[in-house]
C-alpha cells in the first residue's frame, strides 16, 4: 500500500476557526487549574483538572461472550478513600456491542472521554463532565472504516480543539499499514494522515506523543487487525504473522503534521512517554517483542535518534513489556510485563543508563499501569487483548490499586471484573468531581456572550 492510500483529505475547514477560538478561551480560563495530581501520560494540550486525589478511575472494559450482556463497558470505579464507595464499582455503562474495547483519551477540555474498539472500529464519545460519577454516551462514530479506510482506533490524543486518533490497521487487508485521523472535539472528521511507507517507514502505527516545545510528534508502531485479533499462541506459531510487527518510530513536525524522519526501533515499540521535566527533551518507549527500553533524544548535531538503553527483564524469555508510566519529574518509569505479571520500576535519573530498582508480581497477567501525578498511587489492570490474554485459571481480570512509598507497592483495593460479570479490564483514565466547578466560570462567560 502506498502512502496515497490514506490521502490527506481535508474536510469541514470552516469548523476550525471557531473551535480554535473556543480552545483559546478554555485554556485561558483553566490555566490556573494546572494540576498537582493526574495521569502523566496525557496530552500536553489537555488541561489537568485533578488536584490532589482522583475520585474515579474509568476502566474501558472488553465484553466477554456469555458474561452479562457480553458488551464492552465503561466501568467507573470510586477511588477516593473518603468515599463510602471507595474501591467499589460506582457505575457501569454498556455500549451494547462487543468490539474489542481498548484505549481512551480525554478531549483537551477534559469534558469528554473518547474510547475505541479495535475490532469494530467504533469510537464512543462519553460525557464525563455533566456527572463524572455517571458518564453518558453522547455520540458513536460507527462508519470510520468506510470513511477513512482505517481500522482499529487506538490512541486518542488531545490537540487544541481537536482529537487526533491513531489507528492500527486498514479495511483493505487488515494488515498493519494504517494512518491517523483528526476530528473536532464533537467528532466531525477533518482529515486523515497516512503513516509513511517510504524512507524506511513500515506504515504501521500505535501511539502518539508530542513535545510542544520542540514541535515534535513521535509515533510508534505495532501490528494490524490480523495479528491483534488473533489467538496469541496461534500467532506465535505463525511465521508469516510474526513478520508483521512494527519496527519503526516516526518523527513528525507537529504543526504541519509532516513526517520528517523514520527511526529504526525493531520489535514493536508501543507507548511513548515524553519526560515531563521542563528541562528535558527526551522520550522513552518499550519494544514489546524485543523487551528493550528505547531513548529518543537529539544527538550532538541536533538530530533525533533512537537507541536501546536497557533490557526489560530477560528478553529471551519474552516478558512482553506493555504499558509504561513515567513519573512527573521524569526520574522513574513503571513498566508492566504481561507474561510474568510483574510491575517494575525503572530509575531514569540517567536516561542513557536506566536501571531497574524494584519489581513485584502484581497479577497473573498485567497490562496497563497508571500512576497519580504525585506518584503515590499506582493502578494496574489485567487485559492486553481479548485473544492475547492468558487462558484458564491465569485469565484473571481485575483493577488493582497500590500505594507506593518509594520502596514497595502496598495493596489498597481490588475489583474482580469477572466476579462482577464486567469483562476484561483494560485502559484506565482518572476522573474528578471537581471538573464541574472548574468549568463554572467559563460556562458563565459563554452564557453571557450568547
Amino acid at each position: 500500500m502506498s502512502p496515497a492510500r490514506f490521502p490527506g483529505r481535508r474536510m469541514r475547514r470552516g469548523l476550525l476557526a471557531p473551535l480554535a477560538a473556543i480552545g483559546i478561551a478554555v485554556c485561558a480560563v483553566l490555566a490556573p487549574l494546572a494540576a498537582s495530581a493526574d495521569e502523566t501520560c496525557n496530552s500536553p494540550y489537555m488541561r489537568n483538572l485533578i488536584r490532589g486525589q482522583e475520585d474515579y478511575v474509568y476502566v474501558w472494559t472488553l465484553g466477554v461472550e456469555g458474561m452479562g450482556d457480553g458488551s464492552d463497558k465503561l466501568v467507573t470505579v470510586d477511588v477516593n478513600p473518603s468515599s463510602k464507595q471507595y474501591g467499589k464499582v460506582a457505575h457501569v455503562l454498556s455500549v451494547g456491542t462487543r468490539g474489542e474495547a481498548h484505549h481512551m483519551g480525554f478531549t483537551d477540555d477534559r469534558r469528554h472521554l473518547w474510547a475505541g474498539g479495535l475490532d469494530d472500529s467504533r469510537v464512543y464519545i462519553f460525557d464525563v463532565y455533566s456527572d463524572p460519577s455517571r458518564p453518558k454516551l453522547v455520540r458513536t462514530l460507527s462508519d470510520l472504516p468506510q470513511r477513512t479506510g482505517l481500522v482499529g482506533p487506538h490512541t486518542f490524543y488531545a490537540m487544541p480543539g481537536r482529537m487526533l486518533v491513531q489507528f492500527l490497521s486498514n479495511s483493505k487487508d487488515h494488515g498493519g499499514v494504517t494512518g491517523m485521523a483528526m476530528f473536532t472535539n464533537k467528532g466531525e472528521l477533518i482529515r486523515t494522515y497516512g503513516m509513511p511507507t517510504g524512507s524506511g517507514g513500515d506504515g504501521y502505527g500505535y501511539d502518539i506523543g508530542i513535545n510542544p516545545k520542540k514541535n515534535v510528534m513521535l509515533t510508534s508502531s505495532f501490528s494490524g487487525w490480523n495479528n491483534y485479533m488473533m489467538d496469541f499462541g496461534k500467532m506465535l506459531q505463525d511465521q508469516e504473522a510474526m513478520k508483521r510487527f512494527g519496527r519503526t518510530m516516526v518523527l513528525w513536525d507537529a504543526k504541519s503534521m509532516k513526517s520528517e524522519k523514520v527511526l529504526d526501533v525493531p520489535g514493536a515499540p508501543l507507548e511513548i512517554r515524553w519526560s515531563l521535566n521542563q528541562e528535558d527533551n527526551w522520550a522513552v518507549t518499550a519494544s514489546a517483542l524485543t523487551s528493550q527500553l528505547w531513548l529518543i533524544k537529539q544527538d550532538g548535531n541536533g538530530q533525533w535518534q533512537a537507541k536501546a538503553v536497557a533490557a526489560i527483564g530477560d528478553p529471551a524469555q519474552v516478558p512482553l513489556p506493555v504499558d509504561i508510566s513515567i513519573t512527573a519529574d521524569g526520574k522513574g518509569l513503571w513498566v508492566n510485563t504481561f507474561m510474568d505479571g510483574k510491575t517494575r520500576f525503572i530509575d531514569l535519573t540517567d536516561p542513557e543508563h536506566p536501571r531497574q530498582t524494584y519489581e513485584k508480581v502484581t497479577g497473573k497477567q498485567v497490562n496497563m499501569v497508571s500512576q497519580s501525578w504525585d506518584g503515590t498511587r499506582v493502578y494496574i489492570t489485567s487485559s492486553l487483548l481479548a485473544n492475547w490474554d492468558k487462558k484458564g485459571e491465569n485469565d484473571e481480570q481485575m483493577l488493582r490499586a497500590f500505594a507506593w512509598d518509594g520502596k514497595d507497592l502496598q495493596p489498597l483495593f481490588e475489583v474482580d471484573f469477572y466476579a462482577q460479570n464486567l469483562g476484561r479490564a483494560h485502559h484506565m483514565k482518572f476522573g474528578s468531581n471537581a471538573i464541574k466547578a472548574a468549568y463554572e466560570p467559563l460556562d458563565a462567560t459563554l452564557a453571557q456572550n450568547r
Binding site: 456491542t97 462487543r98 468490539g99 474489542e100 475490532d119 469494530d120 472500529s121 462508519d143 472504516p145 468506510q146 481500522v151 479495511s171 483493505k172 487487508d173 487488515h174 494488515g175 494490524g224 487487525w225 490480523n226 491483534y228 485479533m229 488473533m230 489467538d231 496469541f232 499462541g233 496461534k234 506465535l236 506459531q237 505463525d238 511465521q239 508469516e240 504473522a241 510474526m242 513478520k243 508483521r244 510487527f245 519496527r247 525493531p266 520489535g267 514493536a268 519494544s287 517483542l289 524485543t290 528478553p315 529471551a316 524469555q317 519474552v318 507474561m339 481479548a386 485473544n387 492475547w388 490474554d389 492468558k390 487462558k391 491465569n394
Partner: protein, 375 residues
C-alpha cells in the same frame, strides 16, 4: 435466477470468461477451458460488490475479500491460517479464488460441490463471517440502501434472496479467470520467447524427474494444474512426541526459543484437522487435501493447506525429500533427488504461471469495495 426472466429483464447474457477477460480480451483465457455456466455482467458486478462488502459479516468487520485479498492473489499472504470474525481461529490457509470456477469441489477438503454452495459456507461459519443463518444475511442486504439497483440490474427486480446472493457471488468467482500466463503463451500460444530458458528447463523437471504433473495435471489444449483429487503429503501431521520449544521471530534477525508450555498458556485448545476424512469418514482420506491449481502460485504464499511453507523453494525442498512420512502418505510422494539447478528451474517455472490480468482483476475488486456505502 432463470435465464428466461433475465432475458425478460433485458439483461445481456455473457459467458463468465468473457466478462472476466476485461480489456485484455481473450488473453486471460489462453490455456484455460471454457466455462459452461453463464451469468450476466450485472450479476458479476453485484457479486463483486457483495464479495468485497464487510457489512455481510455479523459485526461488519469481515468480507470475503478480507481473507481472499485481491492484491494478495485473492489469497492471504500475511497469515499461515486465517482468522475470522472477532479473531476466531481457522485451521486452514485461505486459498486463492482465482480460477475457482473451474474447480469440481471447493474448500481444502472438497466439502462443497458448487460455487453457489460454497458461497454460503464462510457467510454462515461461526468462525468466519459469523452470521446466524441465511435469513439474517438476506435481511441485512435487503436493508442496505445501496443494493436495490444492483439487484434490479442483475435479476430484473430488487428482491434479495439467498439464491440470488449465492448466484451473484458464484458468478463473480467464476469471472475470476486468470490465464494467459507466460507459460500459456509459450506452450499453448507457441510464443517461443515468452518463457526463459530457465523456466523451460523447469517445465522439463515438472513433467520429468519431479513428476509434478501426476497431480498438477495439464492437457493438450489447456491446463488447470490439478487432478481434483485429495492427497496425503504429511503436511500438518505433528512430529512424534511433544515439542518442548518453539522458535519465535521477535524482529528482523532476532529470534528466541520459548517453551511450549508458555505458548500453551496463551493458546486456545488446538483443533484437530483431518482433511478430507472429515467429509467422507474414510480412513484413507485422513490428512488428505485437495490438489490446488498452480496457476498464480507465485502470488499466493504461504503454501499448503496450513500455510506452513513461506516460499516455493520450501515447497520444492519438501517434495524433494519425499514429503512427511506417515501411515497414510500418498503413494505418489517419493524422494525426488533433484539437483540444485533442478530446484531453481522448477521454482522459476512456477513463477511463469501468473495470469496476465491478475492486477486488473484486483483493481476491479478494489474499485467495487470503494463504492459508496450507506446504511
Amino acid at each position: 435466477m432463470h435465464a428466461a426472466s433475465l432475458a425478460a429483464a433485458g439483461v445481456l447474457m455473457l459467458s463468465c470468461a468473457v466478462a472476466a477477460a476485461g480489456p485484455r480480451g481473450d488473453t486471460a483465457r489462453l490455456g484455460l477451458p471454457e466455462i459452461s455456466a453463464a451469468a450476466s455482467r450485472a450479476q458479476v458486478d453485484l457479486g463483486r460488490r457483495l464479495f468485497m462488502d464487510r457489512r455481510l459479516s455479523r459485526n461488519g468487520t469481515m468480507s470475503c475479500g478480507m481473507c481472499h485479498v485481491p492484491e494478495q492473489g485473492f489469497a492471504q499472504n500475511e497469515l499461515a491460517t486465517s482468522i475470522g470474525v472477532e479473531g476466531r481461529s481457522l485451521r486452514r490457509n485461505a486459498p486463492s479464488v482465482l480460477n475457482s470456477g473451474f474447480n469440481q469441489s471447493y474448500f481444502h477438503d472438497g466439502r462443497a460441490r458448487t460455487l453457489e454452495e460454497q458461497a454460503w459456507g464462510p457467510l454462515l461459519a461461526p468462525d468466519e463471517m459469523g452470521n446466524a443463518d441465511r435469513a439474517t444475511v438476506v435481511g441485512r442486504v435487503a436493508a442496505l440502501q445501496d443494493y436495490p439497483d444492483a439487484f434490479r440490474h442483475a435479476f430484473g427486480d430488487a428482491a434479495v434472496s439467498e439464491q440470488r446472493i449465492g448466484v451473484a457471488l458464484a458468478a463473480y468467482q467464476r469471472s475470476l479467470v486468470a490465464g494467459g500466463s507466460r507459460f500459456d503463451r509459450w506452450y499453448y500460444g507457441q510464443e517461443e520467447a515468452a518463457m526463459s530458458a530457465e523456466e523451460k528447463r523447469g517445465f522439463v523437471v515438472f513433467r520429468g524427474k519431479a513428476q509434478c504433473n501426476a497431480c498438477h495435471e495439464l492437457g493438450r489444449t489447456h491446463a488447470l494444474f490439478t487432478d481434483e483429487a485429495f492427497h496425503n503429503l504429511g503436511v500438518g501431521i505433528p512430529a512424534a512426541g511433544p515439542e518442548q520449544w518453539l522458535e519465535v521471530r521477535l524482529a528482523p534477525g532476532v529470534t528466541t526459543r520459548i517453551p511450549h508450555a508458555l505458548v500453551r498458556s496463551v493458546s486456545e485448545p488446538p483443533r484437530k484437522d483431518e482433511g478430507r476424512f472429515e467429509v467422507t469418514g474414510r480412513p484413507q482420506d485422513r490428512a488428505a487435501y485437495r490438489t490446488p491449481t498452480l496457476r498464480n502460485v507465485e502470488l499466493t504464499a504461504p503454501y499448503m493447506h496450513d500455510g506452513s511453507f513461506a516460499t516455493l523453494r520450501e515447497v520444492v525442498d519438501f517434495y524433494d525429500r519425499g514429503g512427511n512420512p506417515n501411515d497414510n502418505l500418498d503413494r505418489l510422494i517419493l524422494p525426488l533427488y533433484l539437483s540444485e539447478q533442478d530446484k531453481q528451474d522448477l521454482v522459476a517455472f512456477m513463477r511463469a504461471l501468473t495470469g496476465a490480468n491478475v492486477d486488473e482483476l484486483a483493481r476491479q475488486a478494489r474499485a467495487a469495495a470503494a463504492q459508496p456505502a450507506t446504511r
